[in-house]
């Protein structure tokens, strides 16, 4: 169970004066059991890559396959199994609340299952389940999505993708614009969805989130792969060779500085963990 990206390139406005290479020769394998993060500066190509994963964008060259189903280039789109890809991969754009369009939360949540031909009798149950997943209750079903708070709108938009129970959930900067309370609630939701077996692909420039949760991190820099590895590997790499726009979290930076000076310190963003390790280490050496 994986999404395989091989030597993927994407050129916007090809053969026009506006031609821009957004991705060049990117390869990686995204396992469903893992949490994968794409990090990079604005304009590094991370959103472009994310949008290939459910065929919103099609490769200019190279390939993307979702559990064996290929995302085909534009000229072969008639042969592509869009349904299969879109059922497997749910994509949540940045500011997903802008995607809301129905008059009630119930219709918003019912929209995708209806399109999939789910019988009307089952839709209510799916909607309730998705609402519970984002910690809202059934009292929201009859409300107008446009009258909700910013954080609630975002949760409804995410619930509307969860109704289809995708195998992979791709999220583009899902915490942008949320306050601390909203950010923590959203991360808790993603942790749970991940635990329950959904593959998470997170596009973010919040390195603290990326380092604290990812099994694998892809670093993009001007459309090219500038690193692919575990959180520890990528942290150490960014410390040696900084990539513009990617600032290491202070706690992890502290650990890296200590290691450089010959002290033992775990590579982590978790302040409590690092503090405990340092205190233990000091007691041991006394």
């Amino acid at each position: 169970m994986s999404i395989v990206v091989e030597n993927l390139s994407h050129i916007y406005h090809e053969n026009t004066a506006l031609q821009t290479a957004a991705l060049e020769g990117v390869s990686l394998s995204i396992e469903r059991a893992r949490w994968t993060s794409f990090i990079g500066h604005t304009g590094s190509g991370k959103s472009t890559l994310a949008q290939h994963l459910n065929a919103i964008l099609r490769p200019t060259s190279g390939s993307v396959t979702v559990d064996g189903t290929a995302v085909l280039p534009e000229k072969k789109r008639d042969k592509m199994d869009f349904r299969e890809i879109r059922r497997k991969v749910g994509l949540i754009f940045q500011y997903p609340e802008q995607q809301l369009f129905e008059e009630t939360v119930r219709d918003e949540l019912a929209f995708a299952p209806r399109n999939w031909g789910v019988p009307e009798s089952r839709i209510g149950e799916l909607a309730s389940k998705a609402l519970r997943a984002v910690e809202l209750d059934d009292s929201y079903l009859e409300r107008n999505p446009f009258a909700l708070s910013g954080g609630e709108k975002r949760r409804v938009a995410i619930a509307s993708v969860l109704t289809c129970a995708p195998d992979y959930l791709v999220l583009d900067e899902p915490t942008a614009g949320l306050d601390e309370r909203g950010r923590e609630a959203l991360l808790k939701l993603l942790d749970r969805v991940h635990r329950e077996g959904t593959g998470i692909v997170l596009v973010t420039h919040d390195l603290e989130i990326a380092f604290s949760r990812s099994d694998r991190i892809l670093v993009l820099d001007r459309g090219r792969c500038a690193g692919l590895g575990t959180s520890d590997e990528i942290a150490a790499q960014l410390y040696r060779q900084p990539v513009s726009g990617l600032v290491l979290p202070e706690v992890m930076l502290t650990a890296l500085k200590l290691r450089e000076r010959g002290l033992r310190a775990p590579l982590t963003c978790d302040a409590e963990k690092l503090a405990q390790a340092l205190i233990r280490e000091r007691r041991r050496s006394r």
């Binding site: 202070e250 409590e272 205190i279």
Partner: protein, 275 residues
């Protein structure tokens, strides 16, 4: 120095009041940090401390003077000064020393006294070399220090700062923090409004406002021991601050260590080489 008793304030007749039944004391020489998320009422509260706003319910006494009595305003404002978020809004002259002299001149002080005060506060604020320079040549941090210098030149005993570092870069924030530490050391009372918890580490006491009410009060280490700051108040304790707190508590680094990777890294290496 300042005493609030059951202060309430509303901006409109309908809707939630901006402040509800807020009571606390600020003692002479104390450093108080007033924290809360957006809309918690902290700026409204700050404006009560030098009578820019007066309570609708309850009362506010500053140096024992009731802020509702108009004849007290002059004395209140000359002993408690406000410094705002944007330094640009509180600088009135084009030359640094002229700006500092503006307040004392309005007090009608003799020229020699004005000179003495201007030189004195510029030195305290680290702006002596900038005395004759144009204000527009200053950095953000220098401008905010100039705004503080202007307040000090008036002989203020208490500074109320409303998010003084919100518009500054990290360097400017550190300059202002260092100045506040010096002023606190010299006996000035400080009330600092902020939502950046890394800035409250030097305060004697932290007050947390939530939806117009005083919800929590304690020392910075007590605050950082709480587990639910994010969910409860929408505030974030930067992880580096937590790391610093734990290491200070365990005696691995001193409490003067700044909450930065470089500061903590250097302090730990120093202390480990001593054993």
């Amino acid at each position: 120095m300042i005493s609030l008793r059951g202060v309430g304030y509303s901006y409109s007749d309908t809707g939630r009041p901006a402040l509800e039944n807020v009571s606390f004391e600020v003692r002479q020489g104390e450093w108080i940090a007033l924290v809360g998320s957006n809309g918690s009422g902290k700026s409204t509260l700050a404006k009560h401390l030098n009578a820019l706003l007066v309570p609708m319910q309850g009362a506010c006494f500053i140096l024992g003077l009731d802020s509702r009595e108009e004849e007290n305003l002059w004395k209140i404002r000359s002993s408690v000064s406000m410094v705002f978020q944007n330094p640009e809004n509180q600088i009135v002259s084009t030359v640094v020393e002229d700006d500092v002299a503006f307040g004392p001149e309005n007090l009608g002080l003799p020229a020699a006294e004005i000179r003495r005060r201007v030189d004195g506060v510029l030195k305290v604020c680290g702006l002596t070399e900038k005395a004759g320079k144009a204000v527009y040549t200053l950095s953000g941090g220098q401008k905010q220090r100039l705004a503080i210098a202007g307040a000090l030149a008036m002989g203020t005993q208490c500074l109320v700062l409303d998010e003084p570092t919100a518009m500054l870069d990290p360097e400017g924030r550190q300059e202002v923090a260092a100045l506040l530490r010096d002023l606190h050391g010299s006996g000035i009372t400080i009330v600092q409004v902020t939502h950046r918890l890394e800035e409250v580490i030097d305060a004697d006491r932290v007050l947390v406002l939530d939806q117009g009410r005083l919800d929590w009060e304690g020392t910075p280490p007590q605050l950082f021991r709480l587990k639910d700051i994010g969910a409860r108040w929408g505030l974030e304790v930067p992880p580096i601050v937590i790391l610093r707190e734990r290491l200070v508590a365990a005696g691995l680094i001193t409490k003067e260590t700044p909450p930065t990777a470089e500061g903590i890294g250097t302090a730990l290496c120093l202390s480990s080489s001593k054993i």
